[in-house]
Symmetry: D2
Subunit: 346 residues, 4 copies
């Protein structure tokens, strides 16, 4: 990203690690819709910023205080790389270290992973070794998609056998669907209209689909839950209308768990009456993709144990040299794209 | 309440208890602003409905299956009297038994406590004996004011030494202020402009006051917290603007705990950017006054142990016969009223 | 059970329901090892007590206040049938209503389900309709085995991708294994030595087996977790030695979740040093099988959604008339028994 | 401490800070009974180790990467100084960073605070500025006594109006008593026999005292709770017998929150029957003094807001030069000692 609205290749020096940091040679990365938001100015002006926050690779160099990693290690790095001493971490909110959303550094406050090499702060705390049985093309999904999607399920406080609706089955929504299954939901309802995404939703664990182009979502969810509503609604789109639907379809005492990024408008609006005029014990939780080595190690264990296979999300793969075409596919949602993978020369 | 907008005295027969119920002879009651809302049609049309949900008295008659209470017992009854077998209770949300806000029966789905006698469902589960050391005039505050106000603090997940703001220092807000102290808050900021309520706020434990008529509340709270914001904001008014302020003044990872009843508008609005575009881990919880015997026994223990004395809230006392004048004072907020007490002949 | 150590058939009148109760005609039941404990005097002397607490059937008669069930409904009843108005329920512990373990009524404080008919207190709150797709032989596992086993996982506070060990793979342990998977554990280690149970453990989701007859369990678990220990250990046997192992194999900050019934000895012992001299943040939680309609409905949804199929636990089936032989098989653990099913004439 | 059983003054060089560390000139410190345990070999052999972990002082020197502190700042340092990037921190257990109890570094894995200067790792994350209104003699209590005692209350999950017993009213127990009040307990029972400590217990908020030299503790607690038992028992001694009592006096569903260090015996024993044979939902939690800047800042706010004044704990004060006499008083519990303060030349 050269400036708002303009991208292209640039030459930059290979970064050097500080004493506790590492530099990783990228092997595989994923394009995220938020990369496009950034280019469009979603997080404000940026100049000559390397994009990308979902990447894996091989350790190129480590700082002198790094204990657990060596050059040549195959590693996963979370999209969020907190400063672990920060007060927000001490308060249980590492993704908010250094200010709101402050753990989000790649392609925001520093260069991202769409480059041959990228820099990782606090390497011992923010990288994880990839087990032999897990290929890079699978592991790379942990950095953001699994971490964010599963967070949607975890924050939703799903009881075993509970009913869950996941609103929108994009990559994060699909991983929230998988996450709802991982937490033991008894009924998972995917809300989606795109045929490919509806099929993927079923594959990742949705028991039922409500197609919002064919049916009112509130009616559909009530129909599938005997008029009760769901215990948990996971918002995975980031739109005011979807958020409102989420409030409406949870039962009293239920939870709206937000994973969406709201990019527009002054307000996100709670429908007053369906919120029980503020008294129906309907909770709203939000979160930013959890990062850190422990999180990454646990997600890798989910992959290693064969619980979830995210690779069907990869609908397109391009070489790093084809980046511009890759972005075009992702931006314009061409060709029924779900997720675009970028591979680097090894 | 005879119909929307019209109140007056009526003769009704003394209620009779079902097998597990009780009938209580009222000794003391409190007017709640929600009584006025009801008269104005806030919960829809009602005909010949006895108002009032905050009351204490003496057991007049019990059903044959009631085990723990006898005529003559001095008892407290929660404003909320759940059906304890209901699925919402099994799910941890007794106030939502029988549907959203369904535990709220008095002056809603059945006659209230502004009468010489009132009926209590599931007496063993919904009444509590008042200890000798606690007068009726104190105990009556447990039924709603303490229970709701303290809930605001409890739902707010206040850490010991945490910073809390309580938005509006009406009776519920004042009890939320007391509740924040009870949970160990290190800094309690009361937001209020009325001099009498500002004084009461200090008496109930506010360390600082932000007067919204003299200062921007967001600025005031940031000033008092070194720019950090509070861990918890308790909304105790039920207004869109106040709710927005609450979102703005909590730090990332903080909680807005709502106690307010929102009576107007199609939406309650979340300010998008200050909400961290849905990713700053700012939680929103809501609740309806907890009821039930265990809750009431615990609140009575708070009074018995001298932790809180709610009686300074009583700014006016009327006899039952003076009910119309009492309502006028409460409705029109005459004479700097905080809370109006009604006493019955004993 | 006629008295301690003596069992046999007896004629008793068909029970009649109180106003909120129901009487169920039994179709299918399961023998639990605790039935044998009871016969041996484990819960004290009992005379002419009908045994059995895991049963399903068809509603025979309902009391006049029962709203949601009618004769002919096919129903599941939890092994634990709380008194929902009790203070322990109000405190979030329904299984403890009416005193410690007080929700456990069948074959304890009243007749159990090993009879043509059995009585259910608070039918609307303690029974659940069985969906058409779920046969009685599957549904009956919800009453105790799924509810208790899954509770072991739920109380264990398992993070997604976490490591869990389940100590002993009897019926409850196997359901705890399934439960650990349902909560998203990334690595589930079953501890067991009996070949059939080891195979079942794998089928229900154990990734690894530690055979305590072949290896020290502490060493085995450390080996499989890179020396870290597990996040959660579920004790599913009820033995002092196993409990000690559970403490030893969890990492600092981990949880021992107990499902076992400890029948012997004055003490259950915590190994002091491995417990971190009381400071390693190792938590110990316990529980008694959760009951109630909501729980049963959610467990039925787990079955209906095909998440878990408990029927491989049924190693033996007998007709009600063969009860004595059935008990013999269960008591003496003949023929590699796991779970004995009893069928009734329909 | 020169070796096990032998203490004395030693000359050591003034420590130098690493890039993120600080060195503090000690002004005030407190002797902890665990210092005596250490001398007696409680944590194994140590040679030429400076004792002491409760200290405050003035910043002498900071490393180049330290952002928020400068020489001359008056600072509080927690007894526990975690490595914040450690996996245990990422898991929510900072006191266990670097292994079980690994956050406990002072006078354990490095020199302690009984010296003119001491070293602080990760200064920005482990130190807090002392507000002007809080003298060193008050602030020093935050490092361990308030942090550990309050933790006992926090881990105990005390409901507002709940009943709590605190077993032993030594310095930690007294702060647990204060902590139980801070969390809103309605009834706080102190268990103690020493007259001075009984008086202090009342001063710090105990409503009732059970003197174990005059009455059976279980009977006393049941008497004061109408036969119910307490919601929470805080063990603040570290003795097998006291731990057993704690299990016995909690109600089903209650919590034993441990703060005690268990120095003896192979086992700490749970009384099987009173534990509900493993099924009464009696939880056991443990912890090690929480450290870190956020914790310290919050505790300082508790002092600044006048919630608790710990200074009555200081029964004796000695100058640093009188250290040997100070230790003698503390070790031999001379002269009704509660807490011994050490002052340093300024």
């Amino acid at each position: 990203m050269k400036e708002i609205g303009r991208v292209g290749f640039m030459d930059k020096p290979v970064p050097r690690p500080g004493p506790r940091d590492a530099v990783v040679r990228t092997t595989t990365a994923l394009i995220c819709t938020s990369d496009s938001h950034t280019v469009q100015g979603g997080i404000g002006p940026r100049t000559d910023l390397t994009l990308g926050h979902e990447g894996v690779g091989v350790v190129h160099e480590v700082g002198e205080e790094v204990r657990d990693f060596r050059p040549g290690d195959r590693v996963l790095v979370g999209a969020i790389t907190p400063d672990w001493g920060d007060l927000a971490c001490q308060d249980g909110h590492p993704s908010q270290s250094g200010g709101p959303l402050g753990g989000f550094k790649f392609a925001n406050s520093k260069d991202g992973v769409f480059a041959e090499f990228f820099h990782v702060n606090e390497a011992d705390a923010n990288m994880a070794k990839i087990p032999d049985g897990v290929p890079d093309e699978t592991a790379v999904y942990c950095s953001d998609m699994l971490s964010t999607g599963f967070m949607g399920a975890e924050n939703g406080d799903i009881p075993i056998g509970g009913a869950v609706a996941v609103l929108a089955q994009g990559p994060v929504g699909l991983m929230a669907t998988a996450g709802a299954r991982l937490r033991g939901a008894g009924l998972v309802i995917g809300v989606e209209s795109v045929p490919r995404r509806k099929r993927l939703a079923r594959d990742f664990g949705a028991d039922e689909i409500v197609d919002f182009s064919a049916e009112d979502v509130v009616e559909g969810v009530l129909r599938l839950t005997g008029g009760q509503g769901v215990d948990t609604a996971i918002e995975a789109l980031g739109a005011d209308a979807t958020f409102q639907t989420a409030i409406k379809i949870i039962k009293p005492g239920g939870t709206v768990s937000n994973t969406g990024y709201y990019g527009q408008g002054e307000f996100v609006r709670i429908p007053r009456v369906e919120w029980g005029v503020g008294m129906a014990e309907k909770k709203i939780t939000t979160g930013l993709c959890p990062g850190g080595r422990l999180r990454m190690e646990r997600l890798l264990r989910v992959l290693e144990g064969g619980r979830v296979d995210p690779t069907p999300l990869t609908t397109h793969t391009f070489r790093f040299e084809e980046m511009e075409r890759a972005f075009e596919v992702s931006d314009k949602k061409l060709d029924d794209v779900v997720k675009v993978m970028i591979t680097f020369q090894r």
